[in-house]
């Protein structure tokens, strides 16, 4: 084998600490190295040309580049080598920057280490074999998990491009939290007015298969070839027959037993219900935990009054499989609650604010429902406790966020904006009302956001107090809010009629379980993790699975919409060709050595190892061996390490290669 070694100075990054010329000189003496050179910028055009020229001039069939991390430029150099006519997998990188020049100071020591690393890359490449990328077919369909604004946007983008979408939403209707809002900042658009047209578009779109009241049970497969099992929960209503007339809801005798989730428990709903009048689809479901029929077999009022005979009490949950090529996760968020949490929980509740026992100490979504024209008070400001109009409302920011002792250390991003919005909405309706906002900082970094907050202060007379609230307690029907005005340096006490807490956006409680089902990483808060926070924010490290919206981190509506469109674009990149190329560093079985113990099958996380019959010419079975489906194999190598006879090997990381590396280091 004829190997060429190319040492990059990376400007000063490597060159300042590592004597690159010396490394190149030393490499020239390694066995099989016929050409060795150093250069200031190997990844640049002229740098790459040096490599290509050397390949031609010296008939190289192996290349080692000493440069930055392979994560940066392995692809670059492999392409250069490929352009020169050599198989790209006969190119190895020695990480001289992130692992040498940037982490060590002594020049002598660093240069010595660099020489070692180059030597073992040479030993490895000697044992590399030329490989071709594996091509797998792509299913040009997308699964979108979550039907809030993010899921809706992503689904529409993909469907409008002509690809089929399956949209799965666990609630009976799509719309998510945005459908609960009264108005959106900074334009004060009516939230449902801008959302419902999108919801209807999704419902009517020929390319979107909408599955509401359904959840993802399992995900198998890999990028371009996922097999997803979805549980369609029983609505007990036949979706094809129901006309959405609503008579069943009107006649349902259960009026005061079930709290409306949509109205954040400020109102009741019936046992058979749609979450809100503009629900899409407008088909009810039966809550079996409060329905008299399901609890003790009596009452079938809804069935009796339905003139379409659409109600079936014996409907069952259904499992449906869908084949998709890409998955977009848009499962959204929940709000932090101040109720008392279990002793072992790292998150505590806020006892000083009443642990949730005060009816008029509410959170942001509850305030939205009160302010909403279609809400439980028809948009009039009425206290949940006694229905009186509050004349003094205190808003408290940063509840559960930026709080390491009781909540989460991160900033929930949207609260400063929606608190200003809440105060403004209140002042617009109750002109003689007083609104106070306790804040730590004001974060209003979007377009027209700062101006929006100033408007609340200057035009609507909302009083902002910088300080935290230490205690809220009830006295004579009012809520005494004890806080501090840090700018004036005095304690503050306000007798409020109502208190609105800007509670933190938190990850959905089942997020980690869903992440494990899908196979994507998640962080300690339950948010899903991106590949690179700066440059690849919508991709998860599992190929083909993309992230959109608040399930990734706290964000407002325009950011959710942007992220959803970005995720959709990424999904559609996969559909750009009929075949996907995959890295060929997969496992391969030597059928002569394999004894058919199938330990490898047990440890393969992708069920990529099959049983293959080896037969003689007459068709008699000689033995059974393992066989790796290279379309499924992801190249982890666990089978290789498990195999007692080493008959299955991970190409690119065989025992021989690794032993050679170990031996070469000293």
């Amino acid at each position: 084998m004829k190997i060429g070694v190319f040492i990059c100075h990376c400007g000063e990054n490597i060159g300042r600490t590592v004597d690159c010329a010396r490394v190149a000189k030393a490499a020239a003496f390694f066995t099989n190295v016929v050409y060795s050179v150093d250069n200031k910028y190997m990844c640049s055009d002229p740098g790459q040309n040096i490599i290509k020229q050397a390949v031609k001039d010296y008939k190289l069939d192996g290349v080692v580049v000493g440069s930055c991390s392979p994560h940066m430029h392995e692809k670059t150099f492999r392409k250069a080598v490929s352009d020169a006519g050599v198989n790209p997998f006969l190119c190895e990188i020695a990480n001289l920057r992130e692992h040498v020049s940037w982490v060590h100071e002594d020049k002598e020591v660093a240069t010595g280490k660099a020489i070692d690393l180059v030597r073992f890359a040479v030993e490895k490449v000697k044992r590399n074999s030329p490989l071709t990328t594996i091509k797998v077919p792509v299913t040009k369909r997308t699964l979108v998990i979550g039907g809030g604004i993010s899921g809706i946007q992503a689904a529409l983008d993909v469907a409008n491009a002509g690809y089929e979408v399956v949209l799965v939403e666990k609630e009976p209707s799509i719309g998510g939290h945005m459908s609960q809002l009264s108005e959106t900042f900074p334009t004060l658009d009516c939230s449902q007015c801008i959302l419902t047209p999108r919801m209807v578009e999704v419902y009517q779109h020929p390319k979107i298969k909408l599955m509401t009241y359904a959840e993802v049970e399992s995900v198998e497969g890999f990028i371009g070839n996922f097999k997803v099992t979805i549980k369609q929960k029983a609505r007990y209503v036949d979706a094809d027959k129901c006309s959405g007339c609503g008579t069943c809801m009107q006649k349902c005798p259960i009026k005061k037993k079930a709290f409306s989730e949509f109205d954040e428990k400020l109102a009741f709903r019936s046992a058979i219900y749609v979450p809100f009048p503009q629900a899409v689809p407008n088909i009810p479901v039966i809550d079996t935990s409060v329905c008299t029929y399901f609890k003790n077999g009596k009452c079938s009022m809804c069935q009796k009054v339905c003139d379409r005979e659409a109600i079936f009490f014996d409907q069952k949950d259904e499992l449906i499989t869908e084949d998709v090529g890409a998955i977009i996760v848009a499962t959204g968020y929940k709000l932090y609650t101040i109720d008392k949490k279990p002793e072992e929980s790292e998150i505590k509740g806020y006892g000083e604010y009443g642990y949730g026992k005060y009816k008029d100490v509410i959170d942001g979504l509850q305030f939205e429902r009160i302010a909403s024209a279609s809400g439980p008070t028809s948009g009039e400001f009425k206290r949940p406790s006694d229905g009186k109009e509050p004349k003094k409302i205190v808003f408290i920011q940063c509840v559960g966020s930026r709080d390491e002792s009781k909540g989460f250390s991160y900033c929930s991003k949207i609260c400063c904006m929606y608190t200003a919005k809440h105060a403004m909405l209140y002042k617009h309706k109750v002109h003689d009302g007083e609104a106070y906002v306790f804040y730590m900082d004001i974060r209003a970094g979007g377009k027209m956001y700062e101006e929006f907050v100033r408007r609340a202060i200057e035009e609507d007379g909302v009083k902002y107090i910088r300080g935290r609230v230490s205690r809220i307690y009830e006295q004579n029907g009012k809520y005494i809010v004890k806080g501090e005005d840090t700018l004036a340096g005095v304690p503050v006490e306000i007798d409020a009629d109502m208190v609105v807490l800007a509670t933190a956006m938190v990850a959905q409680p089942e997020a980690s379980k869903l992440a494990q089902t899908i196979g994507i990483p998640y962080d300690k808060y339950g948010y899903f993790v991106e590949v690179h926070p700066k440059l690849r924010p919508v991709e998860s490290s599992s190929g083909g699975i993309f992230l959109a919206g608040a399930c990734h981190s706290p964000r407002d509506i325009p950011e959710c919409v942007s992220m959803a469109s970005a995720a959709a674009a990424k999904a559609m990149v996969l559909f750009g060709s009929d075949m996907l190329e995959r890295e060929p560093t997969v496992a391969k079985v030597n059928e002569l050595l394999c004894a058919g113990c199938f330990y490898c099958r047990k440890v393969c996380a992708y069920n990529a190892i099959e049983i293959k019959d080896i037969r003689d010419r007459s068709g008699n079975l000689i033995k059974q061996v393992a066989y790796v489906n290279d379309g499924l194999c992801q190249g982890c190598g666990t089978c290789n390490a498990t195999c007692p006879s080493k008959s299955v090997e991970l190409i690119g990381y065989t025992d021989e290669q690794i032993f050679a590396e170990i031996s070469a280091l000293y």
């Binding site: 008392k340 806020y350 006892g351 000083e352 642990y355 307690y473 009830e474 006295q475």
Partner: protein, 293 residues
Amino acid sequence: MQIGYYPGCSQTGTAKEYDKSLRLVMNKLSAGILELNDWSCCGATSAHVTSHRLSLALSGRNLALAEKQGFKEMLAPCAACYNRLLISQHELNNSPKVKADIEEIVDCKIKGDTEIINIIQLFQKIGKEKISENIKNDLSILKAACYYGCLLVRPHDITHFDDAEEPVSMEELVKTVGAETVNWNFKTECCGAAHSVARKEIVVNLSKKIIEDARTHGANVIIVACPMCHTNLDMRQRAMKREYKDHSEMPVLYLPELIGLAMGFDNKQLGIDLHTVKFKFPELVKKSEEITV
């Protein structure tokens, strides 16, 4: 059961009646508490702000004594002592270096596994049944506001006792002996604490607010579990009367005094006659009810 008893400085001084009633009730319940031999200051007052190491050593000495004298559990009836001993124990157990230093100062090994308990936890250990068996008097005329103060339940990560914002353990005991409890706002509100000495007016202001909140919520007696709480809420009512001409007195009882009353002991036996605000059961109670109405 032999529980160690660490009285602390106030039990022989300003909180004599706390000690008296406690011993009386313990005797009646045949519950063995044995005073720690040769105990000394725990460092709860000036020591811990003057020299941290001194406060650790002072507490450390008492912890070492408790271990040497074989106590698995030790009662500290004063909430400040309780809190200081727990904090010191926690710090010693979490830093081998600090522990080694303190062991050298007190010249004794400290295992740090003695369970330090407060007065409420003591009665919880004795158990509701045993207490109920010994009840003779009907206390239902009492509407008690249970005042926890600041040190019994905070910091929760160290005390691991009840809830730091809405504690309920004292109420359960008070209900067990037959008195009624009220739901009020100032269970853990600051009374002014040690400012009682140098800045009395702060205590008069803050403690007055506590008493009035209890009264607003229907209480005719306040129950405490700490000598500092008692001093500020009871003794300082004299100053409150001078400051607020219309101040009407609110009796303040130690928890064992209440339990002793339920068991049939009288004011003199329990030391209640030493209080600033006189409490005569049941006459005084009726009288203060008239005033509230």
